[in-house]
């Protein structure tokens, strides 16, 4: 068949569809609502004024105002009802809806929230972190929101940057691709980092929000030094790094013999670390580093040596000179392998022990002209066999603690002193942390989930969590390892009250009454910039803006956006007294 008729048909269909598209085109009815006052404090009469554009004819206005699902009466301020007022007697979120009838093509329903503050409380800055699903290829982003206390709060629609697909490449001075770990920290929201590993072949791309980034680059090959490149943007292209400065030296034991196989590196707060060197048979090492103030030399000898890990501040040393790390005499090592490990007399079979020994200054680091002390410590995880005996392990003589963990999670802490003959590591039976969970009014709270995480020097990946749920009288019993420090998170799954994090040092005993702070709900809608529909399945976490360290990354409340992009997170009321 000739193609001409089909072509003609196609042209006709296109023309028809164009005709359909043209029909009804033009500006459609739009509704805007303004509230007076902008910053409302309860009790207050709120005036809502509507403006309807791109319409004609006589319109009718139907308002609905709700707070906490309860209808709030409105009073017309104009004869046609286009403006209304309502009494905001209580602080909180007033959900307002306006339906306008009479437009020939129909007006969309307008919905919005009006926050009304509590006059008796203050607010706080909150970081809202948005973690889109990986498939969305949208970068993690944060927004800082000032949340007034005393009542729920609506953020309204928050639009996040869909990001651009940015190429990431690391090259050396010769232009060759360098396999490297790259961490991009947004200068606008420093906690929203993007991490990627480049390869020799290159071609890595990551979604990035607009703006500039500080980049930490850690090469995964020798010959180039980790680097920090500030205020980078994708338009700047590939990262170029060089070999940095060379820091060399050797590691010697107390007898002056070289220590082979020790890992050596330099770290400095807020600065890129050095490369990692492993000492050669002669105890020598060579590091690539970008010298900065506050550097600390770290030496980790091979486990079999029994030598402790060293940390030495480099202040006062010339790192361009060869450094000599020398363990001092008078710190003998002891083989602890096959030592029985018991909890309440029962062998810790197929478990492990974290041995933490603080040894003080056990070594020196010198540059030929000056010498600084190096602190030594052990923080080693050693397995136990089926009979509950310690695997081969040598440690420097000192005192400290042993955190014994059985395969089922039973744990206990024993004090150890290697200076005295040691027949075994005997830890007491598991202890218990008890207490009562209440609200701020002292009423006991049932069903609160408690999760205790080992903190401090005994914290490690294998440390078991302890968990419990408060009973009807608010009481709880947390099985813990006596002597360990725990961070305990208390979270009400019903979100009636807000979660709380407390630290129980030297845990055991009764913590008394633990009052959980009142909660407020922060809700909003998440969209991508340029989109009118919500972004679903995005993790939303509220985080403290004033915190530092790990606290900064611990969420106060979590949620996830629904199909409409709506989210709600429950957080401690920032207006409640601490």
């Amino acid at each position: 068949m000739s193609r001409a008729p089909w072509t003609l048909l196609g042209v006709a269909l296109v023309a028809a569809s164009l005709g359909c598209g043209a029909e009804g085109a033009g500006p459609r009815c739009e509704i805007a609502v303004q509230f007076d006052p902008l910053d409302a404090v309860a009790p207050r009469t709120i005036v809502a004024r509507s403006t309807v554009t791109n319409t004609s004819g006589v319109l009718t206005y139907s308002w609905s105002v709700r707070r906490g699902g309860v209808e709030v009466p409105t009073t017309p301020r104009t004869t046609d009802g286009r403006d209304v007022e309502f009494a905001a007697d209580q602080p909180g979120v007033y959900a307002v809806q306006l339906d306008v009838d009479g437009d020939p093509l129909g007006c969309p329903t307008w919905t919005g929230d009006k926050n009304v503050r509590d006059p008796s409380t203050t607010g706080d800055a909150l970081r809202l972190r948005f973690s889109p699903p990986r498939e969305a290829s949208v970068p993690v982003q944060e927004r800082v929101v000032n949340v007034p206390g005393g009542a729920d709060f609506a953020t309204g629609v928050l639009a996040i940057d869909p990001g651009i697909d940015a190429p990431i490449a690391v090259r050396d001075l010769a232009g060759a691709a360098v396999p490297a770990y790259v961490r991009l920290t947004s200068r606008a929201t420093p906690d929203a980092t993007v991490e990627v590993v480049t390869s020799v072949g290159g071609g890595e791309r990551v979604p990035l929000a607009s703006g500039r980034y500080d980049a930490l680059i850690v090469p995964l090959v020798d010959g180039v030094a980790p680097a920090q490149i500030d205020s980078w943007a994708p338009v700047d292209g590939a990262f170029t790094i060089d070999a940095g400065a060379t820091v060399g030296g050797r590691v010697l034991d107390a007898s002056g013999a070289p220590v082979a196989g020790a890992r050596v590196s330099i770290t400095a707060a807020a600065q890129p670390p050095s490369s990692v060197a492993v000492t050669a048979a002669a105890g020598t090492f060579t590091l690539a580093w970008r010298p900065s103030a506050g550097g600390e030399l770290i030496v980790v000898p091979p486990a079999a040596s029994g030598l402790p890990r060293l940390t030495a501040a480099l202040t006062g040393l010339t790192t361009s000179q060869p450094l000599t790390v020398r363990y001092q005499p008078g710190h003998p090592t002891l083989e602890l392998g096959a030592l029985p490990v018991r909890i309440a007399g029962a062998p810790v079979a197929d478990g492990h022990v974290l041995i933490a020994l603080e040894l003080g200054d056990v070594a020196t680091v010198g540059d030929g002209a000056s010498t600084v002390p190096a602190r030594g410590h052990h923080r080693d995880q050693v397995a136990t066999d089926a009979a509950g005996r310690l695997a081969p392990y040598r440690a420097t003589v000192g005192s400290g603690r042993a955190f014994a963990v059985g395969p089922t999670g039973a744990a206990s802490v024993a004090l150890i002193d290697l200076a005295a003959p040691l027949a075994g590591i005997d830890a007491p039976g598991p202890a218990a942390l008890t207490g009562v969970v209440t609200d701020r009014g002292g009423a006991p709270l049932a069903g609160v989930a408690l999760t205790a995480t080992v903190d401090g020097d005994l914290g490690h990946l294998g440390a078991p969590l302890a968990s419990a749920t408060s009973g009807g009288d608010g009481r709880f019993v947390l099985p813990v390892a006596g002597g360990a420090t725990y961070q305990i998170e208390l979270r009400d799954p019903r979100a009636v009250v807000a979660p709380r994090l407390i630290t129980a040092a030297g845990a055991a005993g009764d913590l008394g009454a633990i009052a959980l702070p009142p909660a407020i709900r922060v809700r909003g809608t998440l969209r991508l910039v340029g989109q009118s529909v919500g972004l679903p399945d995005v993790g939303v976490s509220a985080r403290c803006d004033a915190c530092t360290g790990l606290e900064r990354s611990r969420p106060l409340g979590t949620g996830v956006t629904d199909v409409a992009g709506d989210f709600a997170v429950v957080i401690p009321d920032p207006g409640a007294p601490p």
């Binding site: 930490l216 990692v276 990946l461 078991p464 799954p493 360290g549 790990l550």
Partner: protein, 385 residues
């Protein structure tokens, strides 16, 4: 004549004239003077319905009397409307008076029921009597059939429905209501057609208390995946209607680790220069979620998470935690030392990737079932610096 039936009236008038003439002729022939006492003639009547169409219960009906009296006498009308529970052919039928009337127009509303039985027929009679007592004959009677509106069955489902599908073993509430335009009570009959592989003893099929808004509710707990059908027949005593609800029951999908932090390519190196947190941010699933739903949800639960680690050189992963996040302090490792940190998720079915044949221990991420983009395992290769 109130409403002219011209042809009939003309015929009646002609007949009367002929009769009078005959009488006069006979009288004349007999001789003497002729005295003619006027003869009263009986009126005629007919019932005419105003409006047309099928008649249903609740309808308002109006009838018009079409009457005539040759003598122009005043006529008295006597309407009687009755509703019957059976057609005239049924000798057992019972009729009950609905309305009476004396006006030329007669109206009433068709009653819904006669002594509890639906109205199926109407009998309207009209007696017309003139001022001399003559009654129109034959008696006017109109028999009308009353139609029945079939009931309507509405059937709906409520439950944990995702993309039109329901998971196995999770309650589905099915609500049905029978509505009848005639106001008849509708009796519902429920029939469940399970999926082909279903075992009857394993199916939960329980009648729930009737909802306040009317109708009935059943709770179905399907035991197997497949296509299920719920049929509800509604009967108003005269007719039936049927509602059917197809239910696609599918196996519980494996949960997806939708968002984790840090978000890097699976198995890629993550440098830890300071204590940092590795966390599950979102688990998407048909039933078991993270963040966990509030307690008391009839369908939803919390996803189960397991963390494990594998130091460099080790062959097996060691369990470390069951929470949503793990904090890792690089100070517990030697500089440059690497450890694999792994999180796995399972729903209430307890299908862990570590136990799935399709997931070998060295796969940094894997899916125990299609789609491959929905993974139940994520692994970070953490290097301490």
């Amino acid at each position: 004549m109130a409403v002219a039936d011209m042809a009939a009236g003309t015929r009646a008038r002609d007949t009367a004239v002929v009769r009078a003439a005959a009488l006069a002729t006979v009288a004349s022939a007999l001789g003497g003077c002729l005295y003619l006492d006027p003869i009263n003639e009986r009126p005629s009547a007919e019932i005419r319905r105003i409006g047309d169409g099928l008649i249903y219960r609740g309808d308002a009906l109006t009838f018009q009397a079409v009457v005539d009296d040759p003598d122009r006498d005043r006529l008295a009308l006597d309407w009687r409307g009755q509703a019957c529970d059976r057609p005239a052919s049924d000798p057992a039928r019972r009729c009950s008076a609905v309305e009476t009337g004396t006006d030329p127009q007669f109206g009433f509303t068709v009653p819904l029921a006669i002594d509890g039985a639906p109205t199926v027929a109407l009998l309207i009679t009209l007696d017309v009597t003139d001022s001399h007592g003559a009654v129109a004959k034959p008696r006017q009677a109109l028999e009308l059939a009353v139609g029945n509106h079939a009931p309507v069955v509405a059937i709906q489902r409520h439950g944990r429905e995702l993309m039109g599908q329901f998971p196995v073993g999770v309650p589905i509430t099915i609500a049905a209501r029978g509505d009848d335009p005639d106001g008849d009570p509708v009796a519902l009959t429920w029939t469940l057609f399970p999926a082909a592989t279903s075992v009857p003893a394993a199916v939960g099929w329980t009648r729930l208390p009737d909802p306040a808004g009317g109708g009935q509710e059943y709770q179905l707990v399907p035991d197997v995946a497949g296509d299920w059908l719920v049929r509800v027949d509604g009967a108003d005593g005269l007719e039936t209607a049927r509602g059917e609800l197809a239910l696609q029951v599918r196996p519980d999908h494996a949960p997806c680790l939708t968002a984790v932090e840090p978000s890097v390519a699976d198995g890629a190196v993550v440098i830890a220069t300071a204590p940092r947190r590795f966390a599950v941010v979102v688990v998407a699933d048909d039933l078991d979620l993270y963040p966990a739903p509030p307690p008391g949800d009839p369908y939803l639960g919390a996803a189960a998470l397991r963390w494990s680690q594998r130091p460099a050189g080790a062959t097996a992963f060691t369990a470390i935690s069951a929470g949503a996040a793990v904090d890792l302090d690089p100070a517990t490792l030697a500089p440059g030392e690497r450890v694999e940190l792994r999180v796995e998720v399972a729903d209430r079915t307890g299908r862990w990737p570590a136990q799935a044949p399709s997931c070998t221990v060295d796969q940094p991420s894997c899916a125990i079932e299609a789609p491959a983009s929905c993974v139940q395992r994520r692994t970070w290769l953490v290097e301490a610096r």
